[in-house]
Symmetry: C2
Subunit: 218 residues, 2 copies
């Protein structure tokens, strides 16, 4: 499937480029060739050149890439040049962990609200943001411009809550519930199924114990 003529596969790789380029800046490196970047990222230089050519290719033959410029451009493509308002549904352990991830804010993801059904959590402050009750959700969404909702609730309520979110204008859901969400085409869902990734690890351990070299993980 194509987006702006850019394949999903390429888009899926951009955050990794963005991360490595950030590390290079931290190391004070201003220019890098596709060959050196390829050694760092363990992907072929031709893949890197192909990927980055999707965006006009920021490299100059023989000069390599301007690290800061390239990172800024990729950030712009990923929409990181704008800030995104986020709410978190579920103030349990995972919801609180997400709410406390200050590093998301560095990339412009701003935690504007956190919601739960448990009265004992009502008003609890997390990094300056009070936990609100789910009964306040629709009013909150009407009064605030929210781009992203993170779902950190049990799967039993995930579908119902995701529909409430969509009906109240949310178009992007970061789903941690252990279930798949079926939502309208114009709603984007990015799921993080922690148990699934743990099971892949388990499969590989089993292979390893059976004396195999390498399994499906990584």
């Amino acid at each position: 499937m194509e987006t702006r003529g850019i394949s999903r596969a390429v888009i899926g790789r951009l955050p990794r480029y963005y991360r490595y380029l950030g590390d290079l800046i931290d190391e004070g490196i201003e220019r890098i060739s596709s060959n050196d970047l390829s050694k760092k990222m363990h992907v072929t230089a031709s893949q890197i050149r192909q990927d980055l050519n999707n965006f006009g290719g920021f490299g100059q033959q023989g000069y390599g890439y301007n690290v800061r410029f390239l990172r800024t451009e990729i950030g712009r493509i990923l929409g990181l040049d704008k800030s995104h308002n986020m709410i978190i549904i579920g103030a349990g352990n995972l919801g609180q962990a997400l709410a406390n991830y200050a590093s998301f804010e560095k990339n412009g993801f701003l935690m504007k609200g956190i919601f739960d059904v448990r009265p004992e959590l009502d008003g609890m402050m997390i990094r300056g943001v009070p936990v609100r009750m789910m009964s306040e959700l629709e009013t909150f969404l009407a009064e605030n411009e929210i781009d992203i909702a993170a779902l950190a609730i049990p799967k039993a309520r995930a579908v119902e809550v995701s529909e409430i979110l969509v009906n109240n204008g949310i178009h992007a859901i970061w789903n941690f519930a252990h279930t798949d969400l079926r939502l309208p085409k114009d709603v984007v869902v990015e799921s993080v199924h922690l148990s699934d990734s743990l099971m892949k690890l388990s499969y590989n351990i089993t292979c390893h114990k059976n004396g195999e070299k390498k399994g499906a993980g990584v």
Copy 2:
């Protein structure tokens, strides 16, 4: 890359089959045809038949799959028929969230230890397990049989700590640090890069705001 003649792609899909079959059991469904399963999972029936044929195919023509049997078999293939001892490095928000995920234990992932460098956390109990200091890690690994280490620490220390783990017999790392780990071939790493997934969501929001139908997320 092949493992036991089973492609990574198939292995990567098994946890999802396992999850759906578990839901079917909860719904009291004992048998299901590949067609009905395909409607539920939104994958083609032929893909389902191909995937499950890797394991000899548990379906009987015309009778469909025995849900409980199939789930048990897939669980066995994933190594979920055995329990796995896990430790968590980092007792911050994410580490504590992982430590509190009782649902992992249902699948046989047992949290045996949690480690941190912050003295103020020393001895704090999380679901019956005390937070230990990193200085105790090597002794702990020598005295306990640990299969999996979850890394819930900042990337600055992730490489160093992962090497300590590997040097002390850990062969499976569940990496939440925002960096890639380069470890020996016989060590399996499953990385969960939360920021990367958030960036894909951001890309899709940007596409959506630019009036596009669908982006790269899910």
